[in-house]
């Protein structure tokens, strides 16, 4: 079970927003900064964090929509970041993405059948006369009817469009699917349908997920292990059970305590963080969370904590655990 599918080593993505006269960068946004973790085969790795923490950028690097500034991505023992564009492309079909916005991520001028067939044709996976059969099979897998393949995206509801996006990702038989906020734009009753579909497909096709979300309850439902990000840094990685029963990083504790619980009889004591997430252009020195932390130590402002293993399956980046 614990076979490593993908290893991410010291990955960074810096966006240069402004340069001086000589082309030297003056304003740099460090969206992802020195992040390392592994994704095991067959697991769902959840990635949580607030807006602007770099979780989507990280997902896009993995599917090659952004190229990393530093760091390595090793996929099935092959270092993807060392490949040239042409070699890299042959790995693209193994790593697919499901996007957040089911309205923006489907071409409005293509029928749903064409949308799903396109990746099969581009990758030359099947002879032309077999493509339609495969499209029908994929539509059935995601719970749509075969006659719907001739319709256009605007004829579908949000939940159905997300199913089309899932079918498109499945079309090339990927090994890893990056689900970027795949259910957050959907209504609650539809969200449950899509989540259950994702769980079923994972079992059926032996998929691995990187599940990016800001909703901690959704991540908990689907993931085996969870990583928490804050301002481009990974602050805690552990198994789902451990994270929800024994969160160590103060940020994780605050995130968990901020989730409204559905029991009006039980008013819980809540950690309310002060202030807002600082700008990733000028993150605070030392620990990036120290400006909002409620357990701040003297050294937090001076030294940046590193991600350290505190128990066999639990890593945390905080001076409290050194």
């Amino acid at each position: 079970m614990n076979e490593v599918l993908m290893e991410i080593l010291n990955l960074s993505k810096h966006f240069i927003l402004d340069t001086n006269l000589f082309g030297k960068p003056t304003i740099v946004l460090k969206a992802v900064d020195d992040v390392s973790f592994t994704i095991n085969k067959g697991e769902a790795f959840g990635l949580v964090g607030e807006s602007g923490c770099g979780k989507t950028t990280l997902g896009k690097i993995l599917v090659n929509l952004h190229s990393p500034t530093h760091g390595k991505i090793v996929f099935e023992g092959k270092e993807l970041t060392a490949l040239n564009d042409k070699q890299r492309r042959s790995y693209c079909k193994d790593i697919q993405m499901i996007f957040q916005d089911p309205y923006g991520s489907l071409n409005p001028r293509m029928t749903v059948g064409d949308i799903i067939a396109e990746p099969i044709i581009i990758n030359q996976l099947l002879p032309a006369n077999k493509v339609e059969e495969r499209v029908i099979y994929l539509l059935n897998c995601v719970g749509l009817a075969q006659h719907q393949r001739n319709r256009y995206p605007h004829e579908f509801s949000g939940g159905q469009r997300q199913r089309v996006g899932i079918a498109r990702a499945l079309a090339v038989e990927p090994k890893l699917i990056v689900c970027d906020e795949a259910v957050s734009a959907l209504d609650v009753s539809i969200q449950a349908q899509v989540l259950n579909l994702l769980v079923d497909l994972k079992k059926e096709f032996g998929l691995t997920y990187l599940f990016i979300a800001h909703g901690l309850n959704v991540v908990k439902h689907i993931s085996d292990r969870v990583g928490v990000m804050y301002l481009g840094k990974m602050v805690e990685i552990t198994s789902k059970r451990e994270l929800y029963s024994n969160p160590l990083h103060p940020y994780t504790q605050a995130l968990l305590s901020a989730i409204p619980i559905m029991n009006p009889e039980k008013k819980k004591e809540r950690i309310i963080l002060k202030g807002d997430v600082p700008s990733p252009i000028n993150p605070p020195a030392g620990c990036r969370f120290c400006s909002r932390c409620f357990k701040e130590l003297d050294q937090c402002k001076l030294k940046e904590p590193l991600l350290k293993q505190v128990s066999p399956n639990h890593w945390v980046a905080c001076h409290l655990f050194e």
Partner: protein, 329 residues
């Protein structure tokens, strides 16, 4: 009783037919209470708020009913009379704090505009009140930040500014339309706490419109569940979560992944999707998605009825017809 909505219906006349976004709803809001309206997209919760505020845009119009605010029917007032109440006695905060603030005006000018429209104060007094309000909603160094433009603030700060503006004239009723939906969880917690604190301080009633049952359970006193423009259930918050009656409410509660749930069971699913508003089913709007659908559900619309102070629109709780049902069998 602060507000009473009686048999309100709102329609949108489209080329392809008429959509009844709000269909014959009645409810009351007491002074100082937080009433939540929950529902999914298209359930009519936002249209209800816009109808109360008189902010419906063409082709929307109120097709019938009364909106009594302190025994005065808002629907019968002229725009001029309504303007005296809107922003003053009833104010509103919106979902998108970026698009609902004017990007080319300083924060202080936007708040002062509403104060000076409704209160007889000098510019100096209005500015003092603006800074005081910004301080109350927790904006750090309010005197300086009052000179900022909206783009200089974060989402949470903008929502605080909106709240300060809405509360600046000391309204009796605050309508909050998805006030936390666009915000991160840690900021959502801050804003909910702020609403709570403001209610304690100013004693206004709040009509909280949301799709998030978690927010409802944290903040509300009483809850209305809407589906397809109809009220399907109404109860105080404790009894709604302890004993939800309508199959839709039950399904919604079960389909949300719980943070304290340790099982790996698949989530409960409400099958299908919301019907097309132009082609509503004849009977109960939820009948084609309901697990406990009876034969008559697709034929006639159930009435909203009282079950020990807990109102529900479902034949399963039809006391009168249960007798009739027994006779049929």
């Amino acid at each position: 009783m602060l507000m009473e909505v009686k048999a309100l219906s709102t329609e949108f006349k489209l080329k392809r037919g008429t959509v009844r976004a709000v269909d014959d709803i009645s409810f009351t809001i007491d002074e100082g209470e937080i009433l939540a309206i929950v529902g999914e997209s298209g359930s009519g919760k936002s249209v209800t708020a816009l109808s109360i505020m008189g902010l419906l845009q063409n082709p929307g119009r109120i097709a019938g009913g009364e909106i009594l605010f302190k025994s005065q029917d808002l629907n019968k007032l002229s725009q001029k009379e309504l303007q005296k109440i809107r922003g003053n006695r009833i104010s509103m905060i919106f979902q998108e704090p970026m698009t609902s603030l004017n990007p080319v005006w300083r924060i202080k000018d936007q708040i002062m505009e509403s104060i000076m429209t409704h209160m007889k104060v000098s510019q100096k007094e209005a500015l003092a009140r603006t800074i005081e309000m910004l301080d109350t909603v927790g904006i750090p160094s309010p005197a300086e930040r009052a000179n900022d433009y909206p783009h200089q603030m974060s989402g949470g700060m903008r929502q605080r500014v909106m709240t300060a503006m809405a509360l600046s004239c000391g309204p009796d009723l605050l309508i909050a339309d998805e006030p936390t939906t666009a915000l991160d969880v840690t900021i959502q917690a801050q804003i909910l706490e702020l609403l709570y604190r403001m209610r304690e301080k100013f004693g206004m009633a709040v009509l909280l419109i949301t799709h998030d049952l978690g927010v409802v359970s944290e903040a509300a006193d009483r809850v209305i569940v809407m589906y397809c423009g109809k009220i399907v259930e109404e109860a105080d918050v404790k009894s709604l979560f302890a004993r939800p009656l309508h199959p839709y409410t039950v399904g919604l509660l079960q389909s949300i992944p719980q943070i304290d749930d340790e099982s790996d069971e698949p989530l409960y699913m409400i099958k299908g999707m919301v019907p097309n508003p132009l082609r509503m089913p004849r009977g109960c709007p939820f009948s084609d998605r309901c697990d406990r659908c009876l034969e008559r559900c697709s034929q006639e619309m159930p009435k909203l009825q009282d079950v020990d102070g807990h109102k529900v629109r479902c034949f399963l709780y039809d006391v009168v017809s249960e007798g009739g049902h027994a006779q049929n069998e």
